[in-house]
Symmetry: C2
DNA sequence: GGCACAGGTTACAACATTGTTACAAAAGAA
DNA sequence: TTCTTTTGTAACAATGTTGTAACCTGTGCC
């Protein structure tokens, strides 16, 4: 293999690794796993206030997380021109496909939390 | 149900919820999922330097993460009086039981990272 | 007009986390 | 004696993240 090819492949791997890292950083942000889990458990469009109530965090943080999820194509945001405003968030297919992992991870967490009581 | 009972149960739930939150905070710390995944994929005792190399982070952060994992009963640390010092880290049974979730989560991440190239 | 509501945004101060640098211990090799 | 190695720790400055408080929109209701 030429040095050029080798370098190109290496840089591809670098790029792939950085994408992986980006995703892990995204998933590791505070409340992110909770938001995904909550939305996955109740797979109907969910309103901002409902999500905020369930994850128990500030508007700022919830808005930030939802924005990041939207940017990364994991949720879609739909605003309705009602009064007062209604906004619904829905998980995309990609996010839904994460559900099995998320579910078993939360089962592990719940199980462990139980034991430590 | 008496008010006392109701309060007790409520406080138990509060306590359980806080344990869940603590675990999620732990798992959401930087490099934590990577460390658990790396160690789970190669389920033999792993040395500090090997972990550090594979997660590609500073000694400080790796040491902090491993310390937190040990505190939470997810890894055991064994030091050998060789020269220079040798220290091996092993996942506990509890951490190993997280492997299926972790594995499918990483598959999802890798899959998504691939697509975004 | 003034208030309420949902769903945010902005600015900012407080707090948390990170990597860097320097250091340490222990003993064998040069 | 000094160098090397592994596995860290301590201090600290830089950076990142959080919640709070204030504010905004648009409109129906009193």
């Amino acid at each position: 293999m030429s040095q050029v090819q080798s370098l190109r492949i290496e840089s591809m791997c670098e790029s792939a690794r950085s994408h992986v890292d980006d995703l892990l950083v995204l998933l590791s942000k505070s409340k992110m796993l909770s938001i995904l889990y909550i939305m996955n458990c109740d797979p109907t469009p969910m309103r901002f206030s409902e999500i905020k109530k369930r994850v128990d965090s500030s508007s700022t943080t919830v808005a930030r997380r939802l924005g990041e999820l939207e940017t990364n194509g994991l949720v879609t945001r739909t605003a309705y021109a009602t009064v007062p405003a209604t906004v619904e968030y829905t998980l995309t297919k990609d996010a839904i496909s994460l559900h099995p992992s998320l579910k078993s991870m939360f089962e592990w967490v719940l199980n462990r939390a139980d034991k430590s009581l």
